[in-house]
């Protein structure tokens, strides 16, 4: 009896709620954070336009960030009509492309964003999305600590001793702008109490070694600067290379020497930021999105492009953007909105509202006063940005996941480097064939 009343109540409520949500063009955005605020702001501008028909007004939908891609996967595969356009990312376009439809951007798009950034939203030669935000990595370091080190001769000598002992090469402290990865490692060791008991910080760096795909993105700028790639031009898997081995060994050496917390194998974004914010870490490589948090927690922080290697300086880049759901109910309306999003008007408004679009130099200059960080991001992206061969393939996400499993296993000591290399080669051969 009681149950049936409950049934009726909730049925009535459900009917009420669905009735009120008559979306014209529904867009599923990246929930929380500056991306959401920026998207809300530009949507307001778009909806206020006189030439946007009542039926084509945009309504935004934000779900949970936890499990976002799991849910999106099921929604898209089952042909959900709950949204017309949805978030896509460079590393997942390949996976979702079968359920999306290519779109046409505005004529300005190329000048506004530049080819590199547009290509982060392409798959199989087709444009699947309009780019909204760009993610890459910075080297964050504590200028106060490095300055003090450079000003002290005893410290310099100790730095030399430590680098000789651990890296087989006597290194001088340098300005982080000139760092190679060897300098990064020497610095990490010098500022760790396990190596240098007088260190002002407990750890020289913090590495994110949790078995999580995003951590592989943070890591692989290092092997890349030693010349690593996922496959060569003929499609042979080249992950088992000197470059990857050198990079993996360097990370393992730092972990074993205690230059990063022993818990690092369970660290991701939040943990690493908490360690750095506590003032117990001298330098680390982290996403550009962390800049404001880290600088406000440690005001002496300076950001810089990641260190350089024998093959140059590199940073992983990927874009977030919006694509068109193939099962959309209002495709034309959604296409119109996405096209408008790729105009200069929209991109500038998006940036002003706090988003982080990857803008071509000329476009970024128009905002140089308000968003100097976008100039830095645009500069790093065009000069150091890279995507591995196969990094936008159908199985790119699975490759990152397989790497996360094998590489963290090596770092944590559950398998040898050779085992990790042969396992990852086998999985990647399967995933990239």
């Amino acid at each position: 009896m009681m149950l049936s009343r409950k049934f009726l109540c909730s049925a009535a409520l459900a009917a009420l709620l669905t009735g009120s949500a008559q979306a014209e063009v529904t867009v599923l955005g990246w929930p929380g954070g500056p991306e959401e605020e920026a998207l809300r702001a530009v949507t307001e501008i778009y909806n206020a336009k006189a030439d946007v028909a009542e039926d084509d007004k945009v309504e935004l939908l934000f779900t949970s960030r936890d499990g976002f891609f799991d849910k999106l996967q099921v929604d898209l595969a089952a042909g959900s009509t709950a949204f017309d356009a949805n978030l896509i990312a460079t590393y997942s376009i390949g996976r979702y492309a079968p359920f999306l439809e290519p779109i046409t951007l505005s004529d300005e798009a190329e000048t506004v964003f530049g080819d590199t950034v547009l290509s982060t939203m392409q798959y199989d030669g087709a444009q699947y999305g309009v780019p909204t935000d760009l993610s890459l990595h910075f080297l964050y370091f504590r200028k106060d600590l490095i300055d003090a080190l450079m000003a002290n001769d005893d410290a310099k000598a100790l730095y030399g001793d430590i680098s000789e002992k651990y890296l087989g090469e006597r290194l001088e402290p340098k300005n982080p702008e000139e760092w190679s990865w060897q300098d990064f490692a020497a610095n990490a060791l010098y500022f760790s109490r396990s190596v240098n008991p007088d260190s002002p910080t407990r750890y020289g760096t913090v590495l994110q070694m949790k078995n999580l795909l995003f951590n592989m993105m943070v890591f692989h700028s290092l092997p890349r600067s030693y010349g690593a790639n996922w496959m060569d031009a003929d499609g042979n898997i080249t992950v088992d290379s000197e470059a990857y081995r050198t990079a993996l060994e360097m990370a393992k050496m730092l972990f074993d020497a205690g230059a990063t917390p022993a818990d690092s194998t369970s660290y991701e974004y939040a943990e690493a930021n908490a360690a750095y914010s506590a003032g117990q870490v001298a330098a680390m490589v982290q996403w550009n999105a962390a800049a404001s948090d880290l600088i406000s927690a440690q005001p002496e922080t300076v950001t810089q492009a990641p260190p350089t290697g024998p093959e140059g300086r590199f940073t992983h880049i990927h874009g977030l953007g919006l694509g068109l759901n193939a099962a959309a109910e209002n495709k034309d309306g959604a296409k119109a909105f996405l096209k408008w999003l790729s105009t200069e008007e929209a991109a500038l408004a998006y940036a002003r509202a706090g988003g982080a679009p990857g803008l071509a130099t000329n476009t970024a200059q128009k905002l140089a006063d308000e968003r100097p960080d976008l100039v830095q991001v645009g500069d790093y992206a065009s000069n150091y940005g890279f995507v591995m061969n196969g990094g936008t393939s159908k199985n790119a996400l699975s490759i990152y996941e397989a790497q996360a499993k094998e590489f963290t296993g090596y770092w944590a000591g559950t398998q040898s480097l050779d085992e990790a290399m042969s396992n990852i080669t086998a999985s990647m051969t399967e995933l990239l064939k």
């Binding site: 996967q73 818990d263 194998t265 699975s398």
Partner: protein, 287 residues
């Protein structure tokens, strides 16, 4: 008109059977089809029959066996710890609880909080720089264990699970303990039986069925553990904290290998079914 027992049974069974058929009939049939097909998110509507290929893949996957072994160890250890602790608390505190019922409420709080949230909270509580536990270790001893490092992570998640679910065992034991008729106890104490002996000879045998039920439920729940481990440490370095549920979940949603995930689930189900059905038969024979 009198119904035959057989007909009565069928009527009694019908609500549940109908409920399951309506809700799970289609999903189960479709899932079994996927188990024997090359099925991914792209080919949901057009799975291609490939016979036992998925089962071969699963059985050859060392991660599957690792996950099974992990779940088994985790389930057995946590179920034992929870039952021992829960039984002790229920029996030892029962005289107090009879007078102060609110104590039960205090002790069952942990299991009311969502396991996923508990996992998330431990990420903060155990963090070397932001968590209170390492903080007090450093304050008092100038040193702290790394709770989530490779060598300690298993112990840490066992403790976390045990602390959260001991209340479950405690509650079942408490109800069973309080249900023991008082005249049995009174008769024994008239005979001058000492408390320790009373527990082993009289109370414990009375609670044995509940001990089986509690131990069994806690074992299943430990075996299928997912939320708290996944939010705390994920699949672990090299997959070292991958439980069976995490294995199936990642195969299914993260890698999109639906056929393989289904094959793993079917295997798990068959093995568990065989063990349980056999256990039932043995129990009846023993009685």
């Amino acid at each position: 008109m009198r119904l035959l027992p057989k007909q009565e049974n069928a009527i009694l069974a019908s609500p549940m059977v109908l409920f399951l058929l309506v809700l799970l009939g289609f999903p189960v049939v479709l899932s079994i089809i996927y188990g024997f097909s090359e099925a991914s998110f792209e080919s949901l509507m057009s799975p291609k029959f490939i016979g036992l290929e998925n089962f071969r893949l699963v059985l050859q996957d060392s991660s599957f066996w690792d996950a099974g072994w992990f779940s088994l160890r985790f389930g057995v250890i946590t179920a034992l710890l929870e039952c021992v602790l829960g039984l002790f608390l229920a029996v030892y505190l029962a005289p107090l609880i009879r007078k102060h019922g609110w104590m039960v409420a205090v002790l069952i709080i942990p299991m009311i909080v969502a396991p996923a949230m508990i996992g998330l909270m431990y990420r903060l509580v155990l963090h070397e720089f932001a968590g209170p536990i390492p903080y007090y270790f450093y304050e008092w001893f100038g040193w702290s264990p790394s709770f989530l490092s490779t060598g300690m992570v298993f112990q840490t998640i066992v403790v976390a699970e045990t602390l959260q679910w001991t209340p479950f065992a405690f509650l079942l034991f408490l109800t069973a303990y309080q249900a023991i008729p008082n005249d049995i106890r009174e008769a024994a104490s008239v005979d001058g039986t000492r408390p320790w002996r009373m527990f082993w000879k009289i109370e414990f045998p009375q609670m044995l069925p509940t001990l089986f039920v509690a131990g069994f439920i806690r074992f299943i729940d430990g075996f299928r553990v997912f939320d708290n481990i996944y939010t705390l440490v994920g699949a672990g370095p090299g997959g070292s904290t991958t439980s069976m549920s995490i294995y199936i979940y990642e195969t299914f949603l993260r890698r999109g290998e639906i056929g393989k995930a289904m094959a793993a689930a079917i295997l798990l189900f068959i093995v568990a079914f065989a063990i349980l059905a056999m256990g039932q038969r043995l129990m009846r024979r023993a009685q």
